[in-house]
């Protein structure tokens, strides 16, 4: 029986096909799914904040887009995945509450997506697709076997990107 591995908020993990990997209720956080299509090793990072260099209390590696994605790639490589073959998909980064005020922390969803894309680019990992932004939460399941990234939202049909 294939297992589905759970990833919490500010957390990351890896898996190998036929297992899948999931994170529940992505809001303004961003879920970055990466896979190596040859070894079928996959990983998922659930990051909360864009940049570890912006705040001083930054020891929690999976919390940030920059450090979290780097760590995920490192762990996948340790399992035998090759960075040059890795491809990524992205979900989350929603704006949950319609705030008028344009304070920095309110646009954290958008900034999380931008920072994730930047971190992936720096690692030369191609982004195949993304389902980001808007104003609703997403539960995601990633299957490294096929690369399917299943996205569920309340009151909306299931989507595969």
């Amino acid at each position: 029986m294939p297992e589905i591995i759970k990833v919490g908020m500010a957390d990351l993990n890896t898996c190998k096909a036929p297992d899948g990997i999931t994170t529940l209720g992505l809001g303004s956080c961003c879920g970055i799914a990466i896979r190596d299509p040859v070894t079928k090793i996959g990983g998922l990072a659930h990051i909360m904040l864009p940049d570890s260099t912006e705040i001083r209390n930054n020891n929690n590696i999976p919390k940030f887009a920059d450090t979290g994605i780097r760590e995920l790639v490192k762990r996948m490589e340790a399992l035998g995945a090759s960075k040059s073959r890795m491809v990524a998909k992205l979900a989350g980064g929603a704006t949950m509450f319609a705030f008028q005020s344009a304070s920095n922390s309110m646009h954290v969803g958008e900034r999380n997506v931008a920072a994730s894309l930047k971190a992936l680019k720096e690692l030369n990992i191609r982004v195949l697709s993304q389902d980001t932004g808007l104003n609703f939460g997403r539960t995601v399941i990633f299957y490294p076997e096929t690369g399917d990234y299943v996205i569920r939202a309340v009151g909306k049909p299931e989507k595969i990107i």
Partner: protein
């Protein structure tokens, strides 16, 4: 000066929050009872300090559908406040307020979302008043914003704000009961300066955070 970290939270601060939970919930219960025109009881609140990855589980799973009402606050202390309750409970409260009888799984319409905002407004207002009285600080809430979505998604908003300061989320759980039991979670999120002001005004030594 080092950043204030919530992870270094003192016993004393915990007690302060418990007390705030008590008084705030007491006031909120009275306000709720008046608004709903019903008798509402409350139990002793519990204060929880959770790791981010355990946050969803505390509410029965990060994909549980919940209603969250979020307000900004300004004044002597800047920050935000959130009240969260389950979809069933939110439906019950909205039904009661609008005097209708819709089933749990129907989506909320504009009118019902507005009712939820009002409920959130009154509950968070009660907490804020208690805190303002305790600390003698002025805190003015903004208009309420509401979202009905997965617990994890709603909680990501306060979690991210907590995330700027530490690795844990702090919430106060209250149970109210009317004909049904209603669990509500209250999250108070002053910004870093706000924490210092609140603790300082309560006579707590904040040098440990410096």
């Amino acid at each position: 000066m080092a950043d204030l970290s919530l992870d270094a939270l003192s016993e004393q601060y915990y007690d302060v929050l418990k007390e705030l939970g008590n008084i705030g919930a007491g006031n909120a219960t009275t306000a709720l009872a008046q608004m709903l025109g019903a008798k509402v009881d409350m139990s002793v609140p519990s204060v929880k300090l959770l790791e981010f990855k355990d946050v969803g589980d505390c509410m029965g799973g990060a994909d549980q559908i919940m209603a969250g009402i979020y307000l900004r606050m300004e004044g002597d202390v800047d920050g935000s406040i959130m009240f969260l309750t389950g979809q069933k409970e939110a439906r019950y409260l909205a039904n009661k307020l609008i005097m209708q009888d819709k089933s749990d799984d129907e989506p909320f319409d504009e009118m019902e979302l507005s009712a939820l905002k009002e409920i959130g407004n009154i509950i968070t207002g009660s907490y804020l008043n208690s805190l303002a009285t305790m600390t003698n600080l002025k805190m003015i809430p903004s208009v309420p914003y509401v979202a009905v979505d997965m617990a994890g998604a709603i909680l990501s908003v306060p979690a991210i704000e907590f995330g700027l300061m530490g690795d844990k989320l702090l919430l106060i759980e209250n149970r109210f009961s009317d004909d049904v039991q209603i669990s509500g979670y209250f999250i108070l999120l002053p910004d870093i300066d706000g924490y210092k002001k609140i603790l300082g005004s309560l006579g707590i030594d904040i040098s440990m955070f410096e």
